[in-house]
């Protein structure tokens, strides 16, 4: 069971105290969302002199998609991305002690702006050129992230690069699919296709966000305010992030705007290259296919967790009827790349 607000307050105060903050109280303002891998809660960190609006994110122990990165290393990684020029929500504290709030937790400053995808799309549609401008900011941010020196990346950040990022990813998809106690033949076919159609490897692996999409971006009047949710970050192929951002499922019905439902691929690619990124088209298409399979598996896991009583979320229950959207996208993506 997730802790209630009183338990959360006490646990978060302990996490902040351990990080060196003194004489503070936490006010839990409310749940922001319960996602596939973590619960996000709005809080205020109050001291005698000021109040810091913040967000606490508690990872779920029920998540099969989570990678084995520690919360403290995740916080270090966000700091690293911030230093590289990626807009982030600055970290206040992190803890891997699951006894405090029921799971590993990161606490970051709150960045005011829009995150709900349909609100983001509605707001951008009102201003000519705003969608492409945001796509360009995403491209630039990803190029900076992908340029981070891997020597500095914490040890617990998963390496998915051997023998190549794509081969490593196919093995991971096989593992996830085999762990699902329910047959998904279309996704199985997709993983087979991925294994037979591997893209060229990147010249060097990069730090990859792993969940860079509409919904994990804070949008302010100036555009990209912060990139959230770093728990799936890993070392891999930089094209993975670019492809994931462009998946149909994250366009929320605005299919003409390939990038997150708001911008053009040209704007994303031009900004990525202008910031020093190397665009590889075949790898881009392959990774979009791979991430479509991955999210299909992710939705299937949510449904399975509900069916097995590990989750009581109606959203997770409904995910079972969404897997078919990803299956449909997958078959179309395979067709677009020459078929089986």
């Amino acid at each position: 069971m997730s802790p209630n607000y009183e338990e959360l307050k006490a646990g978060l105060e302990a996490v902040l105290a351990a990080a060196g903050y003194r004489d503070l109280t936490v006010r839990v303002a409310g749940d922001a969302s319960v996602g596939a891998t973590r619960r996000t809660v709005f809080i205020d960190v109050n001291t005698d002199t000021n109040s810091i609006p913040a967000v606490a994110q508690v990872s779920s122990r029920a998540s099969q998609l989570a990678l084995p990165m520690t919360a403290s290393d995740e916080a270090g990684l966000v700091n690293m991305a911030e230093d590289a020029g990626v807009p982030v929500a600055s970290m206040l504290a992190a803890s891997d002690d699951e006894s405090l709030v029921g799971g590993p937790v990161v606490i970051a400053r709150r960045v005011d702006g829009l995150t709900v995808p349909r609100h983001v799309l509605r707001s951008l549609a009102e201003i000519a050129g705003a969608g492409d401008a945001l796509a360009a900011q995403c491209g630039a941010a990803l190029a900076r992230l992908h340029g981070v020196d891997l020597e500095l990346v914490p040890e617990s950040v998963p390496r998915m690069a051997e023998p190549t990022p794509a081969e490593s990813y196919v093995a991971e998809l096989h593992r996830l699919l085999d762990n699902l106690n329910h047959p998904h033949p279309v996704l199985r076919l997709g993983v087979n296709w991925l294994g037979r159609n591997l893209p060229d490897a990147p010249t060097h692996p990069s730090l990859v966000h792993g969940d860079f999409r509409n919904g994990n971006l804070v949008i302010t009047p100036q555009g990209l305010g912060a990139v959230l949710d770093w728990e799936l970050a890993h070392i891999g192929d930089p094209m993975e992030d670019l492809a994931y951002l462009c998946m149909r499922t994250w366009r929320f019905g605005q299919n003409d705007n390939v990038v997150g439902g708001f911008g053009s691929l040209e704007a994303l690619q031009a900004a990525y290259e202008a910031e020093g990124g190397l665009w590889r088209q075949q790898a881009f298409a392959w990774w979009m296919t791979a991430r479509t399979v991955w999210w299909g598996i992710g939705l299937a896991f949510q449904a399975w967790n509900f069916a097995e009583g590990r989750s009581s979320s109606i959203v997770h229950a409904a995910s079972g009827r969404r897997v078919v959207e990803l299956e449909y996208d997958l078959l179309n993506l395979i067709d677009e790349q020459g078929g089986l």
């Binding site: 033949p185 076919l189 109606i314 959203v315 409904a318 009827r321 959207e325 449909y328 089986l340």
Partner: protein, 114 residues
């Protein structure tokens, strides 16, 4: 005896009540949950209408493809196991049945997606 309204009408009425009455009167998480449940009611109404035909079609396709009999769960499990062997020629043979099933299920789950 036959009770009224029938299952599909009831599910449609449940969806309409949630959408027209509960959603406008709520906000945040509860409002989102009401939207999700309303959508599930509509999916179940379509499933009540077309689900049996979709299952029958898949069952026939898989019996022909696999050359074996069984209930739908057994057939889908056998298909998954066969695909796990990675035989490309079998995948090519299976693809039309897979695509047909995906399109039929999508028409139930999200008819405006195609």
């Amino acid at each position: 005896m036959i009770d009224q309204p029938e299952r599909i009408e009831l599910l449609q009425a449940m969806a309409a009540t949630l959408t027209d009455t509960v959603v406008p009167a709520s906000s945040g998480g509860p409002q989102h949950a009401a939207r999700v449940v309303a959508n599930l009611c509509r999916i179940l109404a379509r499933e009540a209408e077309a689900g049996a035909t979709v299952a029958r079609t898949l069952s026939g396709d898989l019996q022909e493809l696999l050359g074996t009999e069984g209930n739908l769960k057994e057939l889908v499990t056998a298909l998954d196991a066969k695909l796990a062997e990675g035989d490309r020629a079998f995948e090519v043979a299976a693809l039309p049945a897979l695509r047909r099933n995906v399109e039929q299920r999508l028409d139930i789950a999200k008819p405006d997606y195609r």
